[in-house]
Symmetry: C2
């Protein structure tokens, strides 16, 4: 399954910068680079040791393209497990392009997305779930995502799966051995030990499957719906939450034109704030599409923030009862969603008004996004609502829906085996179910894989990785 051609790609982000790195991998990577590289000290690249760096020029016949550093990695001691050359050149777009073109003219082919990692997988440098973690690691933008991807890349998840698979495989062999001696009615596989193993496997699988609920939202950013009319201070709130942490912000245009999603990292966890229309307006036209959308967004969120301008609230006496009705309605419609009422802009209220609010809305969080008052309480509250136990305890968390599906299928098969065992099913039927369970375990780590599956996984990688 090894490749016999050589690939080239830009490994660093596209754009201009101080330096850029171009990566070449394949059996001929070094011999193919040698004539294109003129070492300052007249060294022959082909004679250099692995993991050494050499200063020189990339030359295209008489033309000097750039002064570069070339790093040599020798099969199998490289990322891909093949010979690898890394050319560290000046970060001009023009130079990057010219060097890549030069390598293509000299026998390389442009790498497909993720092809370096695919080769690493095919050469046994990584298993499939580790390879997938590489892509997760590259796209990780907060501590939680980074931690989970890092653990997975270092083999935490696959080791757990591989260990179970090995034990199960061992039993499978024994059961299959029994089939060969079926006329003699012997039991090589100790049924009590087997039952123990099966319940252990089920326990681990269930735990991993359960972890996907949190893993999936952590990966995508925990969705928080902000219910509130315009000008109650949504953007000030988001800025206030953000300023507490030196985080990477990104603004993602939502699926509908009127929705802006803001992604903010709080305590190392990514939160995705989803702006929704206020409820008060919507009480008028209950059947309107606007409401439906708001309720949909609330349904898809983990926590609902009901943001109110304290000053607006104080303009009329009936506003507080109206707010109570609105929030009660919300809770009725979404009984399982944690709801936080946030009274914003309290810096502009006087003592008596604050007392009234505290008395009539005891559960409300008083805040001034402008001065920062109450922001930390809100952050802690948001973190409290999310069950981060598994993350804090360094437990394995499943974030990949492919793994989740394989785990579900594996569990299903293991339960069948368990049932067969309980009902004293014949060894040959049980063996089939065990093989099926093993198959699904193998899918996760890539011991079982198809070209289609690999194609799908690596197509989502960036080029150069």
């Amino acid at each position: 399954m090894k490749y016999d051609d050589d690939i080239v790609a830009l490994a660093t982000p596209s754009g201009a910068g101080a330096i850029a790195v171009i990566r070449i991998s394949g059996a001929k990577a070094i011999s193919l680079t040698a004539p294109l590289f003129k070492s300052i000290r007249g060294k022959d690249l082909k004679k250099q040791k692995s993991h050494t760096v050499h200063l020189g020029h990339i030359v295209d016949a008489e033309r000097t393209l750039d002064e570069v550093l070339v790093t040599v990695f020798k099969d199998p001691h490289s990322y891909t497990g093949e010979n690898v050359i890394e050319v560290s050149c000046h970060g001009s777009l023009y130079i990057q392009q010219e060097i890549i073109q030069l390598f293509i003219r000299n026998g390389c082919r442009m790498a497909n997305p993720g092809e370096f990692t695919l080769r690493a997988f095919l050469n046994g440098k990584l298993d499939l779930s580790q390879a997938e973690a590489v892509a997760d690691l590259i796209s990780s933008d907060n501590e939680a995502n980074h931690k989970i991807a890092m653990q997975q890349m270092r083999g935490g998840f696959s080791n757990e799966i591989k260990k179970l698979r090995e034990e199960l495989l061992n039993f499978a062999s024994l059961i299959e051995l029994e089939l060969d001696f079926s006329e003699e009615d012997v039991e090589f596989a100790d049924r009590t030990q087997f039952k123990d193993l099966l319940s252990r496997i089920q326990e681990v699988l269930k735990k991993l499957i359960d972890s996907f609920a949190i893993g999936n939202v952590i990966k995508k950013g925990i969705p928080i719906a902000i219910v509130g009319e315009p000008n109650v201070g949504k953007s000030t709130l988001l800025n206030a939450l953000l300023n507490e942490e030196r985080a990477i912000v990104s603004e993602i245009a939502g699926t509908t034109r009127d929705t802006i999603e803001d992604e903010i990292s709080i305590g190392g966890i990514g939160f995705r704030f989803i702006d929704t229309a206020g409820i008060r307006e919507t009480t008028d036209v209950v059947e309107s599409i606007g409401i439906k959308k708001t309720f949909e967004k609330i349904e898809n969120s983990e926590v609902v923030l009901y943001l109110v301008d304290g000053n607006q609230l104080m303009t009329q006496e009936q506003n507080i009862p109206l707010l109570q009705t609105a929030t009660e309605k919300l809770q009725e419609k979404h009984p399982s969603k944690p709801l936080v009422i946030v009274i914003n802009k309290i810096d502009a209220l006087h003592e008596k008004q604050l007392a009234t609010i505290s008395e009539q809305l005891p559960e409300a969080l008083l805040m001034s996004a402008k001065t920062g008052l109450g922001v930390e309480q809100l952050q802690n509250k948001l973190l409290d609502f999310i069950n981060l136990g598994a993350l804090r305890n360094n437990e394995t968390i499943v974030t990949n829906s492919r793994h989740y599906n394989s785990l579900l299928k594996a569990l299903e098969e293991v339960e069948k085996v368990q049932l067969g065992l309980d009902e004293d099913l014949s060894a040959d039927l049980m063996a089939i179910d065990i093989r099926q369970a093993l198959y699904h375990f193998g899918e996760i780590t890539g011991e079982i894989s198809s070209d289609d599956l690999l194609g799908n996984i690596f197509a989502n990688f960036c080029i150069g990785k």
Copy 2:
């Protein structure tokens, strides 16, 4: 003048990619990295040779930040001439930020723009004009810019200047020696040889100064004004010109809101196409601001393209004489600007119409930007107008206005010396002029420099270089 602190910066373009490179430079770069790096093979980073690469993890106490490759460069065998560490990590924004922060917490300071190259200059790894060429090289986006920057970076320009400076310095010493023996009326400096040298210097300086005219436009992109009414096919033309070459395109919003500049590389040379209003409208209101702007743009361009829709041209008989009048007016106003009349959309004209145009406008270039007809002729015509002799002959071309100014001042002083020599001026007065000339030579290569000057030059660099 050496620095005693350690700096860190991202060296690759910002953004997410397969890998990113973080660079640390300073006396303590290696010893400071050692405790933050856990080698896979348990190696001690401090004991590794220069130019070697090591696989391991960047760790922050108990927390593993990433699996990385660390490259060691030892003083003086590095870019900066100091100890340098390059960390090649996964290209996530989060990881990049975390690793940089880790190094800052452990004694590094964030590098200023261009500080790595500044240190390289101060440590004698590059002279000043070579350092400036690094920035030019990074921003080069076509063959011509790349070639000039590359030649300058490899010392082509500075060697020429340094050689002249040395010879002049030699004479300066002899002249100054005469001053010490002034009562004895001796001549250590051979006046004939000196005259020879001075005329040689003047010749070289004039040639370099002259090269700035073309060097400066090549660096900024050769400005071509396109005169033409809307819908005559300007954007189709630009696309057609572009498609002939796998070039890097960039669209720069012009200084005025209604001007779009398009940069296109033709034959390796950058051309900047500047859209201007048509002349026909402007013949009505000769004094309008619009016209003034058009004429200004034409004045600042190297060539004027007058683009006309062939079909529009054929709608009325008087259109051709009108066009002739308009172009004649243009030539009158800008007698020295080469003007190319381009009749576009000829694919929609029939034979007879084409014959009429060829007869009445023999100098016009017939083209169909849509089908590509005539595009190559236009490209060749544009290249012909620009005097690229110096570029083709690998001569040194000055592109930097700082160098240009120093060369002008140096020439002025050398001419004074020449005059002094012709008028038999006393050695002490001549010595002053020679010293002044030497000073301006030294400014170019950085033998003479001030903190202000260096600050100005390196502030224009990107961070990480």
